[in-house]
Structures are given as C-alpha cells and as structure tokens.
C-alpha cells in the first residue's frame, strides 16, 4: 500500500476527500478499493441468502438472482423502454423549463434589490409547501395529465436553482464589482463579464441538486397521478405483486438520476474551468 501504515486506527482525514461517487473512485487508495468490493459483495451475498438464513425482515424481499431474471425479462419488453422514454422526456422538459425560468429570474432579482425584497417573500411562503402537495392542484389546473406531471417536475427543480442563482449573484465580492466599475465597465459589461461568470458555480450546484429533485418529483407524480412512465410502472408492478420488477424499476430510476446529475456536474466543471485549477 502506498500510504505509510498509520499505527493508529485513524489518520487525520485528507482535506481533499472526494465526496461524489465518481471522484471517490478516482481518489480512493487501494485500501478503499478493497473495502468497497468487500462491502458491496457482502451486501449482495447477504441479500441473496437472506431467505435460507432466515434474516428477519428480508425474507419476503426477492433475492438478487430473481431480480436479475426479472430485469432480463423486463429489459426485453418494450413497455419498459417506453416508460424510460416518457420519464426521460418529462424530466428533460420540466428540468429545462425550471432552468430557463429560474436562472434569468434569479439573476434579475439579484440585480434589483427592490424586486428582490418584493418577490422573495412570496417565494419564502410557497417554497416550504412540499411539491408533492401541489399534485392535486396541478391535476386540476393543467388540461392534460402529462402537463401536470411535467409541472411537478418543474417545481422540484425550480426553487433550488432560483435560490442558488440569487445567492450566487448576491454574494459577489464587492472588490470585484468596484474594480470593474473603476475600469470603466458599462452595465452590459458588468452583467456579462462580471456578474454572470461569478454566479456560474452557484447556478451549476443549483442545477445538479435540481436534477436529483426532478427525478424525485417525477417518481411521486407518476406514481400518484401518472398512467405511464417508470414511476407508474414501479407502482403498477407493486400492485400486481411483481416485486422483482419493482426493484428493477427502482434501480433504473436510481441510475437515471445518478447519470443525469453527473452529466450536469461535468458540464459545470467545463463551464467554470478556473475552479478546477484550485
């Protein structure tokens, strides 16, 4: 092992510890790789032999072997891929709408203190209402089920990107603003070359977290109000007691959520290159 074996159980934690899964894999030392394999394989084995071993509670959860068989069957059926397509489309539309509305509104509010003081309290009273509670209102208001589900997904991603944009644009160091002013910036220079670039990191964080929430809302909306999509398929499988199929849907949604968030993070690193060189 490369690291000097510490005689104590605990070495001071590395400040640059990677948190996200992708970064964790790259930065993990051999010790961490070994532990990861042990824990994941251990979990799967425990799950597989839960029923014969009589592990309390896990007995009526189908073992991985059944889940894999179910997934093979499911993956070959086009219902599954249809559901994928629909869910992906809904998340994409809802998420993009949230960015197109949230980012400019956030920047505008951050630039104009009066507008912020007027509109932000409204945000403060609407935001704590869990988006799931909006599902009935969405169903009533929007003409089609599809629009209702997309609206809920939109709501999930909208608040977080709006708040992050306002926070990011509002907390720019006064020295940068003053320096730009002295150097003779016109208002449009100030916005495009100072305020926007400085806010990009916060916007990206808002988007990455927003994407995760978009998938959460999609599952809720599809389960409760939808008649198609992965969330609905998951609920339908549960109702016909096809639990292995349920688990496959769970894992599919998990992978979809993970990949889309990672894509946003990578785009973020590309959009804010100066941060990477820390």
């Amino acid at each position: 092992m490369t690291a000097v074996p510490s005689t104590r159980l605990h070495r001071p934690p590395r400040p640059a510890f990677a948190v996200g899964m992708m970064r964790w894999l790259r930065a993990g030392s051999n010790l961490e790789w070994a532990l990861a394999i042990i824990s994941i394989v251990g979990l799967i084995l425990l799950w597989e032999y839960a029923r014969p071993l009589g592990v309390p509670g896990l007995e009526n959860v189908p073992p991985p072997s059944e889940v894999i068989r179910a997934s093979a069957k499911l993956l070959s059926s086009d219902i599954y891929w249809q559901a994928w397509g629909l869910s992906l489309r809904r998340v994409a539309i809802g998420f993009l709408a949230a960015q197109i509305l949230g980012v400019p509104l956030g920047l505008a509010l951050a630039m104009n203190r009066t507008a912020l003081d007027t509109i932000f309290p409204v945000v403060e009273i609407l935001r704590p209402i869990p988006p799931v509670a909006w599902i009935p209102v969405a169903i009533i208001f929007w003409p089609t089920r599809e629009l209702s589900v997309v609206f809920i997904v939109f709501l999930g991603a909208f608040w977080i990107v709006l708040l992050n944009t306002i926070g990011g644009a509002g907390s720019i160091d006064v020295n940068y603003r003053r320096a730009a002013q002295s150097l003779g910036s016109m208002p449009r220079d100030m916005f495009w070359r100072i305020i926007l670039p400085a806010t990009i990191p916060s916007i990206v964080i808002g988007m990455a977290v927003g994407m995760g929430l978009a998938w959460e809302m999609l599952v809720a909306a599809e389960m409760v109000a939808g008649n198609t999509g992965l969330g609905y398929l998951l609920w339908q499988s549960f109702e016909i007691n096809a639990i292995p199929q349920c688990i496959v849907c769970m894992v599919s949604i998990g992978i979809a959520g993970f990949l889309s968030s990672e894509i946003i993070r990578q785009l973020g690193r590309y959009a804010a290159p100066w941060q990477r060189q820390q």
Partner: protein, 290 residues
C-alpha cells in the same frame, strides 16, 4: 526590468480639501474622517501612514470614487471626483483580480470595456505590459494559480494599462512573506522611477513608507486628519541601502514620535487590540533611540 518606459503614465495632482466622512444614520453616526486636507503632487510618490483603524482605507475609497464624502471636496487636476473612473485606479490588500478570467483577459479588461483602443492595439499593449512585469509566460493562467507576489504584479499591470492619472495602493504588500515583500517594494520603486506615475500609497509599516515615499503624510488617529507632512529626500534611484544611512534613522525616529503621540492619545477609548498598536510604536521607538 530594463528598457525605457514603454508607456508614459499620465500624471495628475490629487487635492483633498477639508474632507468629512461619517457612517450610519442620524441617530448613531460614526465620524471616520474629520476635516482632512492633503495633496498628492503630480508625478510624485506620496505615502499615507497612520495608526491602524484610523480611516486610511476609507480615504482611498473616497479618492477612488467608491464612496461619496459627507462634506468637503476631492479633486484631481481641479475636476471634482464624483464616481469611479479609470483615471483613479486602486490596488487593495486582497487581490481583486477576476478569478474567472485569465491573467491576459484581466489586463485586457480595462481597454476592452472602454472601447478607446482598437483590439489589436490593446493586445499589443497588454502583451508589452505583461512582459514588463515579467508575467508573459503566465498570460493564460488563472489568478488562483499565481503566487502572492505575481498576483500583485498582475493587478498593477491591469491598472497601469489604462494610464491612470493616479494609482492608489492600500497596503498591497501586507499578506506577502518578508522576502517577497522586499522584492516587491524594490520592484515598485523601479517601476515608479521609470514612469513618474502619480502614486498614493497607504501602509502601516514605517520602513516600507520611508523606502517608497517622496512625501510622507502622517494621519491622526480616528477620525483621520492630516497630522504631519515629511519630505523624504533620498535620491532616486533608491534601494535598501538607505536603511544604513543616518538620515533614515533620524527620519524614522521623528515619524515614530508623531505616530506614538497619536496612537497613545487614542489608547483610552480604543479596544484591547488597539493597545497592541500603541505598545508596538513604543517598542519601535525604543529601537531607534539607541
């Protein structure tokens, strides 16, 4: 840094005329500058020194145009200062280089937004100035990839390309280690001697003040006003050899006496941290009265 001065800094005279500045509303307002008058002559290196917390930074902000005086007037070559402009550019203690722009784009920012020079001309001047400050091979690096000394020089280049009438510097070398600081002081002196740019420099370090200044203005304790003006008549070009001369220790003793009077006066009302400043001046005074 050899070579004739590629650019001829425009120079101007800064006149501060019975200036007042207070913060807060009418119930509890805190007076920071009280009846302060001083002049930074054209093409001269003027240094402001005063006890910490006496309002030096506020004075720089007022001259730069970031804040408006409560009463009194600041004018550059007779024209009253009303708003920030590229005629009066400032370098502060913390770097204000735009972290999201490369060094080159930072330097180019001024000319590109003022739209006075053509793009080609601006590029040429930026490249020449970066070469002059020895940062040419760092042109595409981001500010956070540079060392403290290099960030200071990049910020100087970003200011000087706009040929400001006055260059304002508020304790720009404070965070640097002793070695880099000394090299930067020598470097700034050389830069001034080859351009005769009007510079107004603020510091709390006495040795730095004496090495750099043509005129040294001692500010009183808060609320700041001009306490004393000293002519620092070492010949130019200057180097650290002046620290060995007798003139240096006499001048330093005189300045310390003025500063100690001011700081001690404030001792009763000031906070515990301020007590350190007073003790510091006392200790430094005992250094020179050997």
């Amino acid at each position: 840094m050899s070579g004739s001065s590629i650019w001829k800094g425009a120079t101007a005279e800064v006149v501060v005329d019975s200036l007042y500045k207070s913060y807060g509303d009418e119930f509890n307002s805190k007076l920071v500058i009280e009846n302060c008058s001083l002049t930074a002559q054209k093409g001269r290196f003027t240094v402001l020194i005063g006890p910490s917390g006496c309002g030096k930074t506020t004075l720089v902000n007022l001259i730069a145009g970031y804040e408006r005086p409560t009463r009194g007037r600041i004018s550059v070559d007779g024209v009253e200062v009303r708003a920030p402009s590229s005629d009066r550019l400032a370098v502060f203690q913390e770097s204000a280089l735009f972290p999201w722009m490369s060094v080159f784009d930072n330097v180019m920012y001024g000319p590109s937004v003022q739209r006075k020079l053509s793009a080609v001309q601006a590029k040429e001047e930026s490249t020449a100035l970066l070469a002059r400050v020895g940062l040419l091979e760092f042109r595409d690096k981001y500010p956070n990839q540079l060392s403290g000394g290099m960030q200071r020089r990049a910020e100087l280049a970003r200011a000087l390309i706009n040929k400001p009438d006055v260059l304002l510097m508020d304790e720009p070398f404070r965070g640097l280690d002793a070695m880099t600081r000394q090299l930067m002081q020598e470097y700034l002196t050389h830069l001034f001697e080859t351009s005769a740019q009007t510079i107004l420099f603020v510091t709390s370090e006495i040795d730095e003040a004496i090495l750099l200044a043509d005129t040294l203005i001692v500010l009183s304790r808060a609320p700041a006003s001009t306490k004393a003006v000293f002519a620092v008549d070492f010949s130019r070009p200057r180097g650290i050899e002046i620290f060995k001369s007798a003139r240096y220790s006499d001048l330093k003793a005189e300045i310390l006496d003025t500063l100690f009077e001011e700081a001690a006066g404030a001792f009763s009302s000031a906070s515990r941290a301020y007590a350190e400043t007073v003790e510091g001046y006392a200790l430094q005074r005992s250094r020179t009265s050997s």
